[in-house]
Symmetry: C2
Subunit: 450 residues, 2 copies
Amino acid sequence: MKIVISMEMEDNKLKNIENILKEVLKNIKPSKEEMERLQKMANTIIKEIWNIVKENNYPVLDVLLVGSSARNTNLKDDYDIDIFILFDKKVSEDELESIGLDIGVKVIEKLNGFYEINYASHPYVKGKVDRYDVDIVPCYKINFGEKIISAVDRTPLHHKFLKDRLNEKLCDEVRLLKAFLKSLGLYGSDVKTKGFSGYLCELLILHYKSFINLLKDVQNWKLKKIIILDDIFKLYENVDIKNLKKFDNSLVVYDPVDLNRNVASPLSKENYCKFIFYSQRFLKNPSIEFFKDYKEKINKILEDREHGYRLVLKIPRKDVVDDIIYPQMEKLQKSINKIIAKNEFVILESKCFADDNYCYLYWEFLVYKLPKVALREGPEIFKKERVEKFLKKYEKVFIKNCKLFAYTERKYCHIIDLFKDIVNGNLQNISIPKYVDPKKGEIEELSNYG
Amino acid sequence: MKIVISMEMEDNKLKNIENILKEVLKNIKPSKEEMERLQKMANTIIKEIWNIVKENNYPVLDVLLVGSSARNTNLKDDYDIDIFILFDKKVSEDELESIGLDIGVKVIEKLNGFYEINYASHPYVKGKVDRYDVDIVPCYKINFGEKIISAVDRTPLHHKFLKDRLNEKLCDEVRLLKAFLKSLGLYGSDVKTKGFSGYLCELLILHYKSFINLLKDVQNWKLKKIIILDDIFKLYENVDIKNLKKFDNSLVVYDPVDLNRNVASPLSKENYCKFIFYSQRFLKNPSIEFFKDYKEKINKILEDREHGYRLVLKIPRKDVVDDIIYPQMEKLQKSINKIIAKNEFVILESKCFADDNYCYLYWEFLVYKLPKVALREGPEIFKKERVEKFLKKYEKVFIKNCKLFAYTERKYCHIIDLFKDIVNGNLQNISIPKYVDPKKGEIEELSNYG
C-alpha cells in the first residue's frame, strides 16, 4: 500500500514538473519568426562570404553556420551567429589568419556592421550586424579522427556530431537545461563563470534523453562522476574504459570528437556541487522559480542579514579581458587570504568581481580586531631539536598538553593595518599578478561594525 | 678530537653542576641543631603517647615517627612531625578511631598545643605544638605482603622500606630533588598541586642513586614511562613484568609495598612534562636559580606582556578543603570553556584558584566580541538526510567546498553576556558542582582592552 501511495505521489509530482517545464519552455524557446530572421541573416552572411571567396579565389572548402542557433538549441533573445570558414590543411596558418580576417572584415563592412578583432586560437572577427553578434572564425577542415591543428578546428566536428543526433524534442530539453543553469549562474564555461558550456549541455541531454532524466540521475552523482556517451563505443573501435585518459575534475564527460578532452573541465567543483544541490531542491520542491534568476533570489536571502566588518580593495583595471583579469584577481585574493589567516583574523566571506574600470576584492570578517598579545604553538617537549629552536625564537614560553607555547606580540591588531601594508607594498610573501596590482589599490570600509 | 673536546666540556659542566648542588644543599638541609630539636620534640610526644596507652591499657602495638623528618630527607624549615600509632588487626575500626583520637587530643593538650580533627582514611588529630605541625594518626600494624585495611596502613611499611635503604648521601640527593621540584611548583601530591609526593622523590633517588643521574635519564623519558625498582625483584618471587597491573598515567612507579599501586598516579601529565622540560633546561644551562622559586620567575616573565580582555568569576567559597574545592572548580571551568568555544569566543588562558573566602575562575580572551552574524557548517551536499535536516533548521544556506553552510544569528556578541547568563542561571548544559555554584558568583572585568 505504502508503495502505491508513494508512486501516486511521485506521479503527481512528475505531472507538476512537466507542467512547469512546459511553462518554462514557452518563455525560453525562440519563436519561429525569431529563428527565421536569424537564419535569414546567417544565409546572407554566408552568401557574402562565398562572393568574397570567389572574387579573391581564396582556398576555402566550406562555410558553416555552427553553434546553438544553427542546431536549434539556442535560448530566446540569443542573437549569436557563429560562422566558421573551413580551409584546406595545406594552407599555412599565416595565410589562414590573414584570409580569415580579410573575409570577416569585408563581410561586416558590406552589411554595414561594426567589428573588432578578437583572439582565440588565432585572431578572428567579432562583428555586430543589426541586433546580431556575428563571429567569423577561420579554421582547418578536419575529418573525424584526424588530428586537429588549432582548438577551433573541433567546432565543425562538434556541430556535425550533434546535428546528426539531436531532434526537436531533444533540442527543447537542451533549452530547459540551459535555462535552469543560466538561472542558477552556472551556464558558461568562461573562467569567470566556471560553469557548463552549451556543448556540454547538449551532450548531457543526448546521454540522458531528457532534462528530468538528467536531474534524477544527478541525485546520485558524487565527486569524479564519469560519463561516456554510448556513441563513443559506436564511433571508436575497441574503446577500453580502463585505458581512457584520466582527468582530475569533479565531472568528466569525454568529448566524442576527441577522447583526450574532458568537455566538463572548465566546471569548478563548487559549481558542480551547486548543480547537484539545486537539482535535488528542484525535484523535491518543483517550482518555476528555479528558472527565473534563482541565483539573484538566493543572494538576496543571503545578504538580508547583519554583517561583520567589511572592506573592499579597489584596484584600477588594466585593459585586459575577463578571462585574464578574473584568474588573476582570484589568485591575488587567495594569496591575501593566506596572509589574513596567518595573522589570525577570521574571514566570513571573500569574493571578487570586476567592472570596466576597477577590480573589487571584497572581504567580510568575523574577527577583524585582536589584542596585541599573540600565542605561538611550539613543538612537543620531547622533540629536542625543535625545542631548542623554539626557545631561541621566543622568551615567554610555557607548557600545555606536552607542548611548548609562547606569548609574543602580533604585528597587526586591526585588519585594516594589514591592508594598509598591502597597499603600501610593505608586505612580503604576497604573489602579485601582472594585471592586478594591489599597490595601486585603495581600501574602502563598508561598515564599521563594533 | 671532537669527542675529547666535548667530553671536556661535559666534565666542566658536571663540575659546575656539582658546585651548584653543593651550594643548594647548604641552603636546604636542616642544621644538626634543627634536626636534634625536632627529634627531641618527637621523642617527647612518643613518650607521652606510651604513658597514655599504659594508663588506659589501650591495645597499641607500636608508636612510630614516620615521614621525611624521621628518615632525614626533610628540607630546612620543615616542621612536620608525623606519628603513627599501630594497632593490632583484631581491634575494630570504631575502636581504633576513638582510641586514636583520644590519644591524639590528650597528647596535644598535655603539651599545651592546639589541635583539630582532620579526615584521611579515618579521622585523626592534627596538632600544633610550638612551631611543629604534629599529625597523630592511628593505623593497623600490617606485615609486609599482608593485605592493608585502610590506606594509611601502608605508611609504616613505606617508612621501613626506605629506612632500610637510604643512607646520608642518598638523603641529600632526595633533598635536592625535592628542592628542585618545590621551586618549580611540582612538589606535592595533593589535588591542587598534582605533583610529586615525598615518597615518590625518595623512590626515584633510590632507583637512580643521585639527583643528576635521575635528571640525565629524564632526558629520554616519554609519555607512559615505567619504573620498576630492583628491590621489587628481590622482595617478590617471580615478578613477571608483563603481568604487573597496567596504569594509564604519564609516569608509573610501582610501589614496592603494594604492586597494585602507582606511586606517581597523582602527577598530572602537564606537570610530568614540566619536570622533563625543566630538567632539560637545568642540564643545558645549570644555574642555582632553578632552585629559587623558579615558578614565580617564569610567571613574572609570562605576565610581563599586553593582555587580552580578562574577566574573573568570583564565587563565595563553601567551607570545604582544597582537595574538594579544586577538582570542582576545575570541572566547572572546563564545562564553561566548552560553552565559550561553542559560542566561538577564543580563550588565551584560563585558570582558577581559591583563597579562604572565594573561588576565582579567571579567563583571558583573544576573541571576546563577535558580529551578530554567525556561520554554521553543515553536511556535504551528498549526505541527503543530513542535508534535509540542515535545511529545516536554517534558511540562509549556501554551498562551499561541497558542503552546506548557513548564516544565522549568534546569541552572544560579547563574552560578558554569556557570563551574565551563567551567573543568572539562564544557561543550560552547564554541569554545576556541589560546592562551586556559579549562580552565586559575580563577574569582574580586569581590563577593557579594545
